[in-house]
């Protein structure tokens, strides 16, 4: 039986892999990837053992903690470096290590021609370790360490091919935008520390009643900013598209299945804060709803297969955030969608990687077409993921998205109607753009460049895709069977309030399926039954142009942040050179000057030293005398 003392190995194994592979150097080039994969698989197996052990315990005893050491102790403030494994974190542990291991396996083949494959695997292991720390930390501060760790791993992996300046820039962009989110998290921690005197989840949960709503609202908003940064939510969404510069397995693991969902984890984990701060909770829903539509619109216009999938990720996480913002009614469904999404989106990214592999690294879908015959396995696995994401029953996405839409409709009043309609509209657009991807890539006529000979990828690559596809097919059913996941997670959240159903569940399902049918039909009409131009047409409407340019997100960022920022920094530079440097130079010169003057007391003569001691002794005596009188 596994005990809580083995929790540290969940993180320890991949961390060891990362450190070992980075330190040992080129010697490990031949077998480094195997070690890394084994470490990740080890974590997964250990996670499974913990899962089974947890199911055998009664509901109250399911959460276990392992205290590693006292990290900070100042007065009454104490932070232990401790790991907490409960019903929520085990879901993530299995997702991260499971999907992570599959992607390790995939990468063995995908990266086989890269001379830096060992380093790549070291970074992957580093990512797994950091991500596991993120979900296993028992306090906001421990989570923060993992949070920064995954940011670092993401930065290193996006810029893995940093010989291309554009890729290096992309990684920098992701890093900087994430920084804004990280600042939000650190502010949230400071607020918790200042108002509650604790930063552990347990402690904050208990202190929620003692603290006024304004502080909780502030903390909630800061947490939301953090979540928006990490999960590419409006208005911090711009980095995700550029992050696709990284190798495709990275996009699958980090920028689709795991890291970008950390924001959802953060919000669900902080459910006690948001439940007590309705304003912050409302903002969560708004951010989620905006991003959901925003990402979907961008997804319609992208010709780059990875960027289309990235936009879709953004939109799907929008769904999860909406779910998480709906309070106790939605937390479990947010997690359900997250887990299902982890399967089908990772699978689709791997499929995209497989396509690129067969097409000489071409990413433009207008140069694809007809790959159904050339790459049958990729087609089937990608297709199953596709059915899951658009929400065709009985695939995973149907169950999870359906539940979110229903919860949105039932959240009451005008809010319910607006939210429900937005999530439904999102479903229509999702069906449209995903069908577009599917058609452009696999089922339309071939538009290949000369000299391209698409072929199916080796087994090491399609096997993980197949496993993920099985997950996409079955996950939704398994989760909803007897409301398994909802029951599993429910002890962590406040009780659902009874509410009046605006629409019966069956009606919502019918609406959702109709949405899918509408979206798919439009896309089929537009792309399957009409020829597709191999070069993107330029005489398009303003709306399309806008969508192709990511709805102007970069323009907005440049106008609002970059240019004023540059102006500010230029101003600061002048200020720094003229005022501060002047002062510092002045003080520095003064210090050096006085140092040089004082140095003259060091004449080298014993007699003057002795005189100095004598004078010093007399001054000391006189001084004490004066004080005494």
């Amino acid at each position: 039986m596994v005990t809580s003392s083995s929790l540290v190995y969940l993180i320890g194994l991949p961390l060891f892999g990362a450190v070992f592979l980075l330190l040992i150097g080129r010697k490990a080039d031949k077998w480094g990837h195997l070690l890394a994969t084994a470490m990740s698989a080890g974590s997964f197996v250990l996670g499974l053992l913990h899962f089974f052990a947890m199911t055998n315990r009664s509901t109250e005893d399911r959460a276990i903690t392992q205290t590693l050491f006292t990290w900070i102790e100042v007065g009454t403030f104490k932070v232990d470096a401790a790991l907490l494994l409960d019903q929520l974190s085990i879901c993530f542990v299995l997702l991260i290590s499971g999907v992570g291991t599959l992607i390790h396996i995939y990468s063995i083949s995908y990266m086989s021609h890269d001379e830096n494959r060992r380093r790549f695997f070291a970074y992957l292991n580093l990512f797994i370790a950091a991500m596991l720390l993120l979900v296993l930390g028992n306090s906001y501060l421990n989570l923060y360490v993992g949070w920064e760790g995954v940011g670092l791993a993401s930065y290193l992996l996006i810029g893995f091919w940093n010989k291309k300046p554009a890729y290096a820039t992309a990684s920098k962009k992701a890093f900087v935008m994430n920084r804004i989110g990280d600042m939000g998290l650190s502010f949230a921690i400071m607020i918790a520390f200042a108002t509650m005197g604790t930063v552990s989840f347990e402690g904050v949960k208990e202190s929620v009643d003692r603290v006024g709503t304004p502080a909780l609202t502030a903390m909630g908003i800061m947490l939301l900013i953090a979540a928006a940064g990490k999960s590419a939510q409006f208005p911090l969404q711009a980095w995700l598209g550029d992050a696709m510069a990284g190798p495709t397995p990275v996009s699958a693991l980090i920028h689709a299945a795991t890291m970008v969902t950390a924001g959802v984890y953060l919000i669900v984990r902080s459910n006690f804060v948001f439940d007590a701060a309705p304003t912050a909770q409302l903002l969560v829903v708004i951010v989620g709803a905006i991003t959901l539509i925003f990402g979907a619109i961008i997804g319609m216009a992208k010709d780059d297969i990875k960027k289309a999938l990235a936009a879709s990720t953004m939109s799907q996480i929008g769904y999860m955030i909406v779910g998480a913002g709906l309070g106790p009614a939605g937390y479990a469904f947010a997690i359900m969608h997250l887990l299902a999404h982890g399967f089908f989106k990772a699978g689709m990214f791997l499929g995209a990687g497989s396509v690129m592999h067969g097409m000489n690294d071409e990413v433009n879908m207008r140069k694809y077409g007809g790959l159904r015959k050339a790459m049958p396995i990729t087609f089937i696995t990608f297709g199953l993921g596709y059915l899951a994401i658009i929400g065709v029953p009985p695939f995973a996405g149907f169950y999870s998205k359906d539940e979110i839409i229903a919860t949105a409709f039932n959240s009451g009043g005008a809010q319910g109607i607006i939210l429900g309609s937005i999530t439904l509209l999102g479903a229509v657009i999702t069906a449209f753009y995903m069908t577009r991807v599917m058609v452009l890539t696999f089922t339309s006529k071939a538009r290949w460049d000369a000299g391209v000979h698409p072929h199916e990828s080796p087994a090491l690559m399609w096997l993980p895709m197949a496993i993920l596809a099985i997950g996409s097919v079955t996950a939704g059913y398994l989760f909803t069977q007897g409301e398994a996941l909802v029951h599993w997670l429910s002890p962590l959240f406040a009780k659902k309030e009874e509410y009046e159903e605006l629409l019966p569940h069956s009606v919502v399902s019918i609406l959702a399926i109709s949405a899918v049918i509408i979206g798919v039909s439009i896309a089929l009409a537009k792309y399957q039954f009409r020829p597709v131009a191999a070069i993107a047409p330029t005489d398009v409407s303003f709306a399309t142009r806008l969508a192709r340019n990511d709805l102007g997100q970069d323009v907005v960022n440049e106008a609002i942040f970059m240019r004023p920022g540059q102006g500010l920094t230029q101003g600061l530079v002048v200020m720094d050179e003229k005022v501060i440097d002047g002062a510092v130079r002045g003080i520095g010169a003064m210090a050096v000057g006085s140092g040089a003057t004082l140095r003259r007391t060091q004449s080298g003569y014993v007699r003057s030293y002795a005189a100095l001691i004598l004078v010093g002794a007399l001054v000391l005596l006189a001084g004490i005398w004066v004080v005494t009188q």
């Binding site: 050491f69 210090a591 001691i613 002794a617 000391l620 004490i624 004080v627």
Partner: protein
């Protein structure tokens, strides 16, 4: 005539001191009888063995201290235990540096440049007297921290000082500077000792007692002549402040640090400071505590001047050993703030700081001894330029220790500075706090300047090179780096242990 009571000696408690003294005596015998060839190795082995045994003997007293021995002339308590342990640990890692015997004069008694010296050098004579001398000094230091009457304190002061005067004059290169350093140290040390003794006489006149507890009782009683107390405290302080090189009693230290063989400087700078501050803590916390309002303003002034002076003058130094000397003056100022705080956290912080600083100092001087050209050590900072390109590991190690001196987080220096300044703040002494932080900022400037010099300047081709460190030097450097890092990252166990253990038996 009263009856004679034979003193209870409590050998178990005295064992560490006695072991070191015995080791020193055996060392003298080896010097006299062992063949010259085997002396170096047997002396090194003997010294390390002696110190380890002494440390073991010390650890054995764990939990049984809080007793007085030898007619109340020494007191064994938690603070003494910790200070002795710090001295022994620092001594063990510092004594390994003495193994590079080619740093020591072949014929220390010969006049520099004389034929006698040339012959001795040509014969490749390696002297080894430095080992027993060091052991005698260590014994004095151990006694200095636990002495609880003024006579014993004075004896311990002399036992630790006399060997150091000699050791300062043992450098093989730049013999004249080394002998000058030894002479200066001796003359000024004697001068300061005279002040100390003068103060002792006055304190006896004041309290009719030579024990710390007797003086404390007299101060509490408050009927005696205050002028005597005042002169006594002032002059005893002069003697102690001289040892810790506080301004204006500091002037010997740059010259002596520079002139002494670097291995000796390392030992002297680290261990002497622990011993001297140990004694100072004891006398001020135990004997003078009742009179705090009289001496605190003056000692505060000295601490402030010492911090600022040390930091400022260090900036204009061109020689790495002198720079470290002034840095040690500045650190003396920081340490004084722990003495002045006169509270439990001040005591804890000072002990931690002493240990952390001592260990880092040994490491830093060990690295200094590695940078050489054909004529010996290169201490001119300009010639250290670009060291980071030629010997990155050495440069990184030295930078790390400098950052520890500067008090950058994740080093022991940060934890030390943080705890000592918070103790000062706790005692309400904001002047110390503000000046301390400001002079730390000034000090950081010259430490980081050296780092910049090593890493961002191009190397000069002038024959400066890094000698491959011997295994002993390597151990010293690695141990000191490891302790500095561990105390910086996981200070909690040590801090906890100190705060549980450190107390003075009054």
């Amino acid at each position: 005539m009263g009856t004679f009571t034979s003193p209870i000696l409590n050998y178990a408690m005295l064992a560490p001191i006695l072991v070191v003294l015995a080791g020193a005596v055996v060392g003298v015998l080896i010097e006299a009888f062992a063949p010259r060839k085997s002396r170096a190795s047997s002396q090194l082995a003997l010294s390390v063995f002696t110190l380890v045994i002494a440390l073991a003997a010390l650890v054995r007293t764990r939990g049984t201290y809080s007793s007085k021995a030898a007619m109340n002339s020494v007191t064994f308590d938690g603070a003494g235990y910790l200070l002795q342990m710090a001295i022994l640990i620092i001594a063990i890692i510092a004594i390994l540096l003495l193994a590079d015997s080619d740093k020591f004069a072949a014929a220390p008694t010969a006049a520099p440049g004389s034929d006698e010296e040339r012959e001795a050098q040509a014969a490749n004579i390696r002297i080894t007297e430095v080992y027993p001398l060091t052991l005698f000094a260590i014994a004095g230091m151990l006694l200095f921290t636990v002495a609880s009457d003024l006579i014993t304190l004075f004896v311990a002061l002399e036992v630790l000082s006399l060997p150091l005067y000699l050791m300062a004059g043992l450098a093989r290169r730049r013999r004249l500077a080394s002998q000058e350093a030894a002479l200066k140290y001796f003359l000024l040390g004697a001068f300061a000792s005279a002040f100390f003794l003068f103060g002792v006489a006055y304190l006896y006149g004041y309290s009719n007692s030579i024990t710390f507890s007797g003086i404390a009782a007299a101060i509490t009683g408050g009927t005696a002549n205050d002028v005597f107390l005042l002169v006594g405290i002032s002059f005893v302080s002069v003697g102690l402040l001289f040892k810790v090189s506080a301004v204006p009693f500091h002037s010997w230290s740059p010259d002596v640090y520079q002139g002494s063989p670097t291995a000796v400087t390392a030992f002297m700078a680290a261990a002497t400071k622990v011993a001297a501050f140990g004694a100072m803590l004891r006398i001020f916390y135990v004997a003078f505590a009742g009179d705090v309002w009289q001496w605190r303003p003056m000692l505060t002034a000295i601490a402030l001047i010492t911090m600022v002076f040390g930091s400022l003058v260090a900036i204009s130094q061109r020689d790495v050993k002198r720079m470290l000397a002034y840095s040690s003056i500045a650190h003396a100022g920081f340490l004084l703030s722990g003495v002045i705080a006169l509270n439990k956290s001040g005591l804890d912080a000072t002990i931690f700081y002493l240990f952390a600083y001592g260990v880092a100092t040994v490491g830093a001087f060990a690295i200094v001894s590695l940078i050489n050209d054909s004529s010996g050590e290169v201490t001119d900072l300009n010639r250290w330029a670009g060291l980071g390109k030629r010997s990155p590991w050495i440069a990184i190690a030295f930078s790390f220790l400098l950052l520890a001196f500067a008090g950058i987080p994740l080093t022991s220096g940060f934890v030390g500075k943080f705890s000592i300044f918070s103790a000062a703040y706790e005692s309400g002494n904001t002047a110390i706090l503000i000046t301390g932080v400001l002079s730390s900022a000034i000090a950081a400037f010259f430490y980081i300047r050296v780092v910049v010099l090593m890493f961002f300047k191009d190397p000069v081709e002038d024959g400066t090179s890094v000698v491959i460190p011997s295994i002993y030097t390597r151990i010293t450097i690695l141990v000191s780096l490891a302790i500095t890092l561990i105390l910086g990252v996981f200070p909690a166990p040590v801090l906890d242990y100190i705060s549980q253990t450190a107390f003075f038996l009054r």
